[in-house]
Amino acid sequence: MASCSHLTQFTKDSLSTYRKICAWFIAGSSKKTRRAKTTRKCHECGTPSNRLHACLCCVYFGCYSGLKHIHSHAKQKDHKLAVDLTYGVVYCFLCGDYAHDEVLEKILREERAKAWRSYGNKTALYEHWLPGRKDVELLKRNVKYQRVCDNSIIGLRGLINLGNTCFMNCIVQAFTHTPLLRDYFLADQHKCKKQDGTCIVCAMVSLFQEFYSGERTPHIPFKLLHLVWTNARHLAGYEQQDAHEFFIAALDVLHQYCKDDSDETIKSDNPHHCNCIIDRIFTGGLQSELKCQVCSSVSTTIDPFWDISLDLGNVLNNGNGKSNTFIASAASVPSPTLSDDYLLSCTPPESDHLDDSFVPRSLIECLKRFTRVERLGSEGKTKCNTCESYQEATKQLSMKKLPIVVCFHLKVC
């Protein structure tokens, strides 16, 4: 798709036509325009599909595939440019192909972003990376072509154990293969104000670059380990540590250092009220409902969470207090058994999960147990705001907001 002289001529005269079509029929940035968008159809045969195009010279919508009414319109009226109403690209009938124009693309991007915000989205619209002038020059100078094929092992790299640091290595491996974190770090989104090498996010950036460099020898994460020691004192030393503890500490430290990166103009919608990459990916909201047994009034609190501790119950032959952590990514693998809908709909639980002695055998059962109605009993009386006295209550946990990547911590008592 190259630019074409006919289109260039057009952009000099009437950009406003294109913007108007974008705003009304392609992006749809208000309720009114969205209503108009749904009514678009071919002026000849009335079909709403078949790749509708709008003539840029007059008010005419026509189908492109199917009966090709936009083609006959172009021929009859000698109107040579038409815009695709799905993607916003412009077709030139003289050149017989779609043409590309930077100015028009910019308008389209602006209108799309406007529409995105009008839907109530607080975050910025995800956009594909576009090379700037500098990037184009760099790409021209470095013409070596690399393609990652399906059976490529790029991104897979071993980590040297630096003396009982397997707790760190396994979490680092999980981090480096979280697609959203990878995209963030490899896209150079971290803007560091410290230049003294003490920033742990910078260490993560170089770690990601190491992982995706195509190198096959194991990597030695000494720099990261050192920074972990200085940032989380309780993990320092060559002793065995808990991977889950490290995970939480890592999130905490990364969150501290990432805070400055976040765009403060965009309001965050996660329960931590923070916009850093860590909170955007890992923070969810846990809702806890206390229901007074006397007056049935419910008080609700929502707490941010990074992980969910799931009780495995009394498993006799495994009762050595060891814990396991695993991270499920909703972004990378759409799992058929554990869909978001299921997680959200697993309350209220069935009666057989109410029993304390129940031993869950699957993640789903663990979650059912986690979200069951719990009787707090006479020792756990809480103050009811309606009764204004201490009353027995039941408590139920549910997920108010699921993070993109959720971490489950399996506990064995």
């Binding site: 798709m1 969205r34 749904t38 709403p48 017989g96 192909d97 779609y98 759409p334």
Partner: protein, 101 residues
């Protein structure tokens, strides 16, 4: 013949009714968005991009138009849509009409 014509007319009336129903509440847009998301998630889009790139590289950038590309890739692209995606979409459409008719 008359019955045939009658059926044709009923079919087109039905088609119109369905189209109008889809335009209400922006359901068509919603379905389109769902389809787009699912196709992205299952890797269909990436695979298709790669196929297109291969065709362009094979034929030469200046010798292929978008129309050529569309004609060549369409049958393959349809085939590549996973059955689960089709099923989910069908299920959604069915439930939408189930609730609204």
């Amino acid at each position: 013949m008359a019955a045939d014509l009658d059926r044709k007319q009923r079919d087109s009336e039905m088609k119109n009714a369905i189209n109008n129903k889809l335009n209400e509440n922006f359901e068509r847009e919603r379905l389109m968005e769902l389809l787009r998301t699912r196709l992205k998630e299952c890797g269909w889009r990436d695979k298709l991009t790669q196929e297109c790139k291969d065709i362009i590289r094979e034929k030469g950038l200046d010798k292929v138009t978008v129309d050529d590309l569309v004609t060549e890739i369409t049958p393959k692209a349809r085939e590549m849509v996973p059955d689960e995606v089709k099923r989910e979409l069908l299920e959604r459409i069915r439930s939408y009409f189930g609730d609204n008719v």
